[in-house]
Symmetry: C2
Amino acid sequence: MDNATRSERSRNAALEAAIAIIARDGPGRLTLDAIARESGLSKGGVMHQFRTKEAVLKALLERQMAHFEEFSTRTMAKVSASSASPNLATQLATIREAATSPNSAALALVAAMVENPRLMALPREREMKRMAAIRAEAADPDLAMLRWAGAMGLLLSSLFGMSPLSNDEHQRLFARLLDDAQWSGLEQPATRTIKPAAKSSTPSTAKAATSGKRA
Amino acid sequence: MDNATRSERSRNAALEAAIAIIARDGPGRLTLDAIARESGLSKGGVMHQFRTKEAVLKALLERQMAHFEEFSTRTMAKVSASSASPNLATQLATIREAATSPNSAALALVAAMVENPRLMALPREREMKRMAAIRAEAADPDLAMLRWAGAMGLLLSSLFGMSPLSNDEHQRLFARLLDDAQWSGLEQPATRTIKPAAKSSTPSTAKAATSGKRA
DNA sequence: TCTATAAAACCGACCAGACGGTTTGTAAAG
DNA sequence: CTTTACAAACCGTCTGGTCGGTTTTATAGA
């Protein structure tokens, strides 16, 4: 086998193993020995590909970021024509993807933060650029940021295992966050433009239905 | 000194030290030796008060929960008369408090999750009760949950050191989340009652239903 | 009130295992 | 034959937890 691809395979196996460990045992259990065990490689092999544990975390982080970067650009291409605020739409869709993705990608973030909080600088920087784009295109920038924050809240709270919402609710809420039409009613660049709206006597309380657990 | 208060002081010192360590060095650096060093107690002393490390985490969690519980009831008493949705208002204010509080309380959550994810069951349970109350009192339950999620997103993202927002924006967004008047424009119990509004050139997209699974 | 004794709080040395990382050796690729 | 990919034993440090002993408080009888 080619040398380069041999390395590639090993690096891949190690990172895959790292994700599996984090998802299964929690970020606190991610150790080099565990990675070696899980990936089938020897510890020496792992250390040959990554000189330190921090290098593993960094690679993991960059890998996940690349994954969502790609998802992001793909989504962007789809919605850029149909949506008035394509950056927001893309970002929301990406966050939803992160929340529903089985290989809990964002757990890499948690692991990185535990080990070395300053690794968080990379994602934050990228996030700020995106946020700027969202703000720039929005008729009501604050509302756009709040929609972003809402998606983030859904993602992170479920990631922490402390989301009180069922799967259905989760999906429904994401859908509503994404639906521009639902929010155009209260855009307010600076001034108040409240519609009295219909108070609607006794609103159904929604069907509840929720018996679900975690999300 | 009285025996009971002596214990109380020691327990307190240990927990205080734990918070300081987490906030300063990150959750990964929280060790029993570190707690002993930081608190001035000996390791034996710490171990006398908490039989295991998990016991420390648990106590820490319960302590923070009690703190916000108290803040919560206090806030509830204040707003219950003035607000149409006091539970939501209280919850939002409490989350803002957690985000603003200097001794980043919620870091205890992160530490707990790293060490033992199932400790998260306690806070989640309590959160579910609160969520039920919020849903029950809301004219538009989903919107209420989205407001909650927005606050959560602001809190958690800044907690993770990955918030792209400035302090001012943070405060402003929380204020807007709290202001009922800003949201009454788009309440929609179950039926669509959308006002044509200004922009919305192209209708949503809202495809929903992706391949999602847990989160 | 003084004293003997139990009980609780506290200390610090110690332990086995896990940790991140290094070193030495070997087989395959170039 | 040199370089690269990997294996495996190994090292010093740190970790959560134990243990025997010391000091401080509580209890009780005289």
